[in-house]
């Protein structure tokens, strides 16, 4: 395992950067053009006072795009991975809390979002589970990048070339 990692780490890091960066770029990019939808989506979680939720909703798409670009290009990968990982952990917490409180909402992950028809409850609960698993996977990807931020096709290089 260790050997495997030493050998393929530069490629794994590239893959991880493209995966996390790609998802964040799509998610952020879809929301950047519709800031009010994102703001409504954050407010629908009912975790924050409305105006703070709106502010966060406005910031989130830009933040996602920014982190995505840094990861893809390979600049300040470690801080970007920490930020990306934190965002994923927050998403997991928010979705889990919505699930626990029985809210029936669209996560707003890729645009849209907000309250849904309560008749869709069963379907939405399945969606929550899938979303949490997906974000968990992305959080682990971020963790890998925290340990190994330097790889192929990156502006930043490791101190000692391996």
């Amino acid at each position: 395992m260790k050997q495997f990692n030493t050998r393929f780490q530069p490629y794994l890091t590239l893959l991880a950067r493209l995966l996390l960066g790609g998802v964040l770029l799509v998610a952020g990019g879809l929301k950047v053009t519709k800031p009010t939808d994102a703001a409504n989506a954050v407010a629908a979680y009912k975790l924050l006072p409305t105006n703070i939720a709106h502010l966060l909703g406005y910031a989130l798409p830009w933040l996602e795009v920014a982190i995505a670009l840094l990861l893809i290009v390979g600049i300040v990968v470690r801080p970007a991975a920490i930020a990306g990982g934190l965002i994923m952990v927050i998403f997991i917490g928010a979705i889990a809390s919505a699930w626990a409180r029985g809210l029936v909402i669209d996560c707003g992950c890729f645009g849209g979002g907000g309250a849904l028809d309560p008749a869709l409850a069963d379907q939405v609960h399945r969606t929550y589970f899938i979303e949490i698993m997906r974000d968990l996977g992305l959080a682990l990807t971020a963790l890998y990048l925290y340990f190994f931020p330097y790889g192929k096709l990156s502006f930043e290089k490791a101190a000692v070339e391996e």
């Binding site: 990692n5 950047v32 800031p35 009010t36 939808d37 703001a39 409504n40 407010a43 409305t50 105006n51 709106h54 502010l55 406005y58 910031a59 798409p61 830009w62 933040l63 920014a66 982190i67 840094l70 600049i75 300040v76 470690r78 801080p79 309250a115 028809d117 309560p118 008749a119 925290y146 340990f147 190994f148 931020p149 330097y150 930043e156 290089k157 490791a158 101190a159 000692v160």
Partner: protein
């Protein structure tokens, strides 16, 4: 696992990059905020030149969830459940609002508007103001106006009582009675009664429409007048 080490000496560059990224994010937020509030204030201009239509006396139908009832006692009854902030209700209104108004004005049906308020404080204020407008005999005018200026952002601070009064002024309400009713929240009991009646009628979302007591389920992906009209006029 050992962490990869950072190349020494580029810490400054690192912080500059991070600061620049944060600057971009903050600029994005400020831009979004400004364009949002500009849009909201500009939306009031949509009401310029609106003329108040002839008044229609409405009643409150306590047996039917305290809805605003127009043309009580017709053979056909249409119940419309909506929240003033609900974006899909705006779509419904854009597609069918004129037709529904014609049902009322031509006395073709009893139309009951159940004004809900589950989308937050601003819906409560807007619902209260709607009942105030009904007292003036101008519910439909106010209803159209609310959807015409609806903000895409819910509870953004847009629908303050002052703004609701000025929406009223824009469409021709000049009585101080309306302004007082809005600012004092005089109709809050009716707002609550409408909200509380949702479960009794099995209403879970908005817009929900009943035609002669039967739930109307739309087949097409968007609201379209032909479909709604056919459903209302079906025997």
């Amino acid at each position: 696992m050992a962490k990869q080490q950072v190349k020494s000496g580029d810490n400054t560059t690192r912080w500059i990059v991070i600061a620049m990224v944060l600057l971009v994010v903050v600029t994005g937020v400020v831009f979004s905020l400004m364009s949002q509030s500009n849009k909201e204030n500009a939306s009031l201009a949509a009401l310029d030149g609106t003329k108040l239509q002839p008044a229609i006396v409405s009643t409150i139908d306590a047996a039917n969830g305290s809805a605003i009832t127009l043309n009580s006692g017709q053979a056909k009854a249409v119940d419309i459940w909506e929240d003033p902030q609900c974006p899909v209700c705006k779509n419904f209104e854009d597609a069918n609002g004129t037709y529904i108004e014609s049902l009322v004005r031509e006395k073709k049906a009893t139309v009951r508007f159940h004004v809900l308020s589950f989308l937050g404080d601003e819906s409560v204020r807007a619902a209260n103001a709607s009942f105030c407008a009904a007292d003036e005999g101008q519910y439909l005018d106010f209803h159209h106006a609310l959807y015409a200026v609806q903000s895409p952002l819910e509870n953004s601070g847009f629908l303050s009582n002052d703004k609701l009064v000025s929406i009223g002024k824009k469409i021709g309400f000049n009585s101080t009675k309306f302004a007082n009713c809005v600012t004092k929240g005089s109709k809050i009991d009716l707002v609550k009664a409408n909200y509380d009646s949702m479960s009794k009628f099995g209403v879970k979302g908005t817009p929900t429409v009943f035609i002669d007591g039967k739930l109307w389920e739309r087949k097409s992906p968007d609201f379209n007048l032909a479909e709604f009209k056919a459903a209302v006029e079906a025997k």
